[in-house]
């Protein structure tokens, strides 16, 4: 089944410039309904109010980190199915393992390029 590019995508990062960059890259891919949040707790409120087909989140944020947000999403029966990609500068082995164990679908390390972003989304959602 082809990926529905009209799906709602939530991007989460505490750097506004990074939100802008990711949003523009998603627009280039074809995703037009992109919402933003600046930390895990704001993102959690959004996912509880609206249906999202994909979450792309940073890790290092306050007051709720990306990992904590992921754990909340996976712990919620209504949200646990949402594909979740971590996009972060955290690159140690233990980070990747922790994210995987928490249920992340894929992991992108910053700095990243458009091809990697598109490739990981295709891996998680299917080709488009």
């Amino acid at each position: 089944m082809a990926v529905d590019l009209r799906m709602n995508v939530l991007i989460v990062d505490d750097y506004k410039t990074m939100l802008r960059i990711v949003k523009n890259l998603l627009n280039q891919i074809g995703f037009t309904n992109v919402d933003e949040a600046e930390d895990g707790s704001a993102a959690l409120q959004k996912v509880r109010q609206k249906e999202y087909g994909l979450i792309i989140s940073d890790w290092n944020m306050q007051p709720m980190t990306g990992l904590q947000f992921l754990q909340e999403v996976r712990a919620d029966a209504k949200l646990k199915h949402i594909p979740f990609i971590m996009v972060t500068a955290e690159s140690k082995t233990e980070n990747v393992i922790a994210a995987k164990q928490a249920g992340v679908n894929n992991y992108i390390v910053k700095p990243f390029n458009a091809a990697v972003l598109k490739g990981k989304i295709a891996t998680v959602l299917g080709d488009f």
Partner: protein, 218 residues
């Protein structure tokens, strides 16, 4: 000459038998003296070892080092490190984050306009421009990464501040500059060197109009 063997001690029974044979009354047995009742002796305390000369010398040496450290800390204006230098370093780092964020937003504004124009133009030219637009978006990752690295440095400065405060407190020195006291660190630069100060903080920096007015007055 052969060594003399020690004399054999005669056994008491043998002595008695000999005395009996000699018709002598054996000497009365010495009445064993009742052992005096003794209370439990207190445990012997170990003798205090005499302080070795090298240990005393070592302690004196340490005391001299500590006193010297205290004098040096007082003279280098460690309070100034906390009151001026560390906050200045922190302010400069935060200014870097602010400046890079501002510049990145300006770049993204321009690139988004270019992207719209390229999309509208279409064709090979439009595609070529869009490829470069994507490269610029990717390069702008730098602002996030520099911001995170700077946050780590700020954290280190805060730790240094805590350590210096702890050291001053331990040595009984004031942890802050007393009100009204001039700075212990004096700018000793002269000539051209004294004119090299770099950008001022954003809230204190004059704009071009201010500089023009100053220039016209000078």
């Amino acid at each position: 000459m052969a060594a003399r063997k020690p004399a054999k001690r005669k056994r008491p029974a043998a002595k008695k038998a000999k005395a009996k044979a000699a018709g002598k009354r054996p000497a009365p047995k010495a009445v064993a003296r009742a052992k005096p009742v003794r209370t439990a002796r207190p445990a012997k305390l170990p003798k205090k070892p005499a302080a070795r000369p090298d240990l005393r010398g070592g302690i004196s040496h340490l005391a001299r080092i500590l006193a010297e450290a205290k004098r040096e800390l007082a003279s280098i204006g460690a309070q100034d490190i906390r009151a001026r230098h560390l906050p200045t370093a922190g302010d400069e780092l935060n200014a870097i984050v602010g400046a890079t964020e501002g510049a990145t937003n300006a770049i993204l504004d321009a690139v988004e306009r270019i992207e719209k124009t390229a999309n509208a133009a279409g064709g090979e030219t439009g595609s070529a421009i869009l490829a470069d637009v994507t490269s610029i978006y990717e390069a702008c990752n730098f602002q996030d990464l520099t911001g995170q690295r700077i946050a780590k440095v700020v954290s280190v400065l805060q730790e240094i501040d805590r350590t210096v405060a702890g050291l001053l407190a331990t040595l009984g020195l004031p942890t802050s500059v007393p009100a009204g006291k001039p700075s212990a660190t004096v700018d000793t630069r002269t000539g051209d060197e004294a004119l090299l100060n770099g950008p001022q903080m954003p809230d204190a920096a004059p704009n071009q109009a201010d500089i023009d007015a100053l220039f016209d007055k000078a």
